[in-house]
């Protein structure tokens, strides 16, 4: 049976997720938060000297955004699968002619779409307001920041679906989601510091640079990859201790960082599917 694109089960599941988030006003709330944060940081970040340009605004926002986008992505999706199974609606849904992979991808596209829309519109509106108030505007830099933020959001939505497919109740899925957030935003930095202290003379490393393998491990963390992707295109932006505001190693490139983020999305979804497919509903 040929099904038109708009009536494909993946599109229908995605559409339902988007409509749910429109109905419960989540999409509006997130868009408002992203826009308001950007405007506040741009205006007040300069300590009373008025609007900062987009580059400085991005630099000011990075520390906050690196925490905010992952937690929003994780909270959006942690109950998407397990919540429906617990409630009983998943057994009814899967008795219809559709496959589990279609449900998973549909949910990813729907929830990812909601977060992407909020980021693009929220940051977009703020970008337009800032551009109207400053003399130098580099739209290209801001677009890269926007797209990188969307990619980071999608990584954490995929991770949230992995948690949702793995656990048998919402509370443990939420526990894993919160752990993942802690791990990537806090624990990772501590681990990297520990690795540095155990394997090298840190004082020398700070003056003459860290070895390449250290930088390579660091960008396994999607938040580090995101920060690096933005800093490679916008300038040194990180205020987090997970990245060093030193010169980047030669092998760092935008393509590599984007690939790492895409790999996180793909691998998370593949593992989520393996768990979801094997699961008794």
């Amino acid at each position: 049976m040929n099904i038109s694109f708009l009536h494909h089960p993946i599109v229908l599941i995605a559409k339902k997720e988007i409509m749910d988030n429109i109905r419960n006003k989540w999409i509006l709330l997130m868009t408002g938060i992203f826009a308001a944060l950007t405007l506040l940081i741009s205006y007040f970040g300069s300590l009373g000297q008025g609007w900062q340009d987009l580059g400085l605004t991005i630099a000011g926002m990075m520390a906050l955004v690196q925490y905010l986008i992952p937690i929003i992505g994780l909270m959006l999706g942690y109950a998407a699968i397990v919540g429906e199974i617990e409630r009983g609606s998943m057994s009814a849904l899967l008795s219809f002619p559709l496959k589990r992979i279609e449900v998973l991808i549909g949910k990813f596209l729907g929830l990812g779409g909601v977060l992407s829309f909020s980021l693009l519109v929220g940051f977009g509106i703020a970008g337009i307001v800032i551009s109207a108030n400053v003399s130098e505007v580099d739209i290209g830099q801001y677009l890269i920041f926007l797209l990188a933020s969307v990619l980071l959001g999608l990584v954490f939505v995929a991770l949230s679906l992995l948690a949702s497919s793995f656990f048998h109740n919402r509370s443990t899925a939420m526990g894993l989601a919160i752990f993942l957030w802690f791990f990537f935003t806090m624990i990772w930095g501590i681990i990297m510091l520990g690795v540095a202290m155990l394997s090298m003379d840190v004082e020398t490393a700070f003056t003459s640079g860290f070895p390449d393998w250290y930088y390579a491990i660091n960008i396994i963390n999607p938040i580090s990859a995101y920060g690096t992707l933005v800093s490679l295109n916008v300038g040194p932006v990180s205020s987090s201790f997970t990245e060093q505001a030193f010169s980047n190693p030669a092998f760092y490139s935008s393509e590599l960082m984007a690939t790492i983020l895409f790999l996180w999305i793909a691998i998370s979804l593949i593992i989520a599917y393996i768990f979801f497919k094997k699961r008794d509903i």
């Binding site: 109905r23 057994s91 002619p97 509903i281």
Partner: protein
């Protein structure tokens, strides 16, 4: 006459043997002269067949949860167009079997076919023929009844135009725009049934369809199920309300502790268990003559008296003779009741420890 292909364990030669249900056939391999025997099953309906008239075929279904056997080698075939009752005590494996039929859980072993299509290899084709009412009816609480049905209609690729008439048909016309989160259990059950019959599926699987319904709702649901059968659907009903099953179903399957213990028509099951009708006669006066007249009758199993109440267990063919003997012996019958063996009797016998 049954037919079975047998593979010789010594030389792998395959030969066909014929026999009657329950018969043990001696086999000699024409290739290597190896000698063996094969017993045909006593009840062929419990065993695999190549019957193309089956709407649902479950063969050797086995499912274990953390070393606890939920379903053990369950085999049964549901004929096209029949209402098939699926019974068993709590925890017997009913819902596990139903979920396996729907592809919602993966068996450790076994095969399930929906109108000939394997549910696990061509799940979309198989599921497109099924309407399902789960035991725990759940919808999206934040959506209205109409929005819920329209979502499922899109998923099932049927016209959304069918949703409003379905809600009207199931007595939910006044609740079309009401959020499902505010629905009562009975309303949810009606909405669940509307979802199940959407798109006129050829197979309906109903897990406790009367759950949460008032008596009027139970009658309504029963009529809907019969109506679906008249339209050509095959219906699998799991219910604890045995009277409902007895009234609706052409055949029943009883599962106990994960094993299928019976599949047949209810009257056949009663006969197999030697269940007898019971005649209860209230007499004006009980006499020794009446008692002796009844006791000496052929095909009477058991006679019991309590005051002027006479209870007689006998073969169905002896019922008229019992009544006639009482009258001939001078008994004045004040009241008479004949209790046929019920599904409850059958169920209790098949599920007793």
């Amino acid at each position: 006459m049954l037919e079975k292909k047998i593979r010789c364990p010594s030389c792998d030669f395959v030969q066909t043997v014929n026999g009657e249900p329950g018969q043990t056939v001696k086999i000699t391999c024409p290739s290597c002269n190896n000698v063996g025997a094969f017993q045909f099953p006593k009840d062929p309906s419990l065993h695999p067949s190549d019957d193309t008239s089956s709407a649902i075929s479950v063969v050797e279904l086995t499912k274990t949860f953390e070393s606890v056997s939920a379903v053990d080698s369950a085999t049964f075939h549901i004929k096209k167009g029949e209402i098939f009752g699926f019974l068993g005590p709590n925890g017997a494996g009913k819902t596990t079997t139903i979920k396996a039929i729907l592809g919602l859980l993966y068996p450790d072993k076994g095969e399930i076919r929906i109108n000939g299509t394997n549910i696990f290899t061509d799940e979309k084709k198989a599921k497109s023929q099924i309407g399902y009412l789960p035991e725990k009816v759940a919808f999206y609480d934040n959506l209205t009844a109409l929005q819920n049905l329209m979502f499922y209609a899109e998923i099932k690729q049927v016209s959304k135009q069918c949703c409003q008439p379905l809600l009207n048909e199931f007595g939910l016309a006044d609740a079309v725009d009401k959020k499902v989160g505010a629905f009562s259990k009975g309303m949810l059950q009606r909405l669940g049934m509307a979802r199940a019959v959407m798109g006129d599926p050829s197979i309906l699987i109903l897990d406790e369809p009367s759950s949460g319904l008032d008596p009027r709702g139970v009658v309504f649901m029963r009529e809907k199920i019969k109506h679906m059968q008249q339209r050509g659907a095959t219906v699998l009903v799991s219910s604890h309300i045995l009277g409902e099953i007895q009234e609706m179903c052409d055949r029943v399957c009883i599962i106990n502790k994960g094993k299928i213990v019976a599949v047949d028509r209810i009257d056949n099951l009663g006969t197999r268990l030697h269940l007898r009708p019971k005649i209860v006669i209230l007499l004006e006066k009980m006499t020794e003559k009446i008692l002796k007249a009844v006791e000496k009758l052929k095909d009477v199993d058991h006679v019991e008296t309590t005051g002027t109440l006479l209870e007689v267990n006998c073969l169905a063919s002896a019922k008229a003779n019992v009544i006639l003997s009482v009258v001939k012996a001078g008994g004045n019958i004040m009241n008479l009741q004949i209790r046929e063996p019920s599904l409850e009797d059958v169920f209790m016998r098949f599920t007793e420890d």
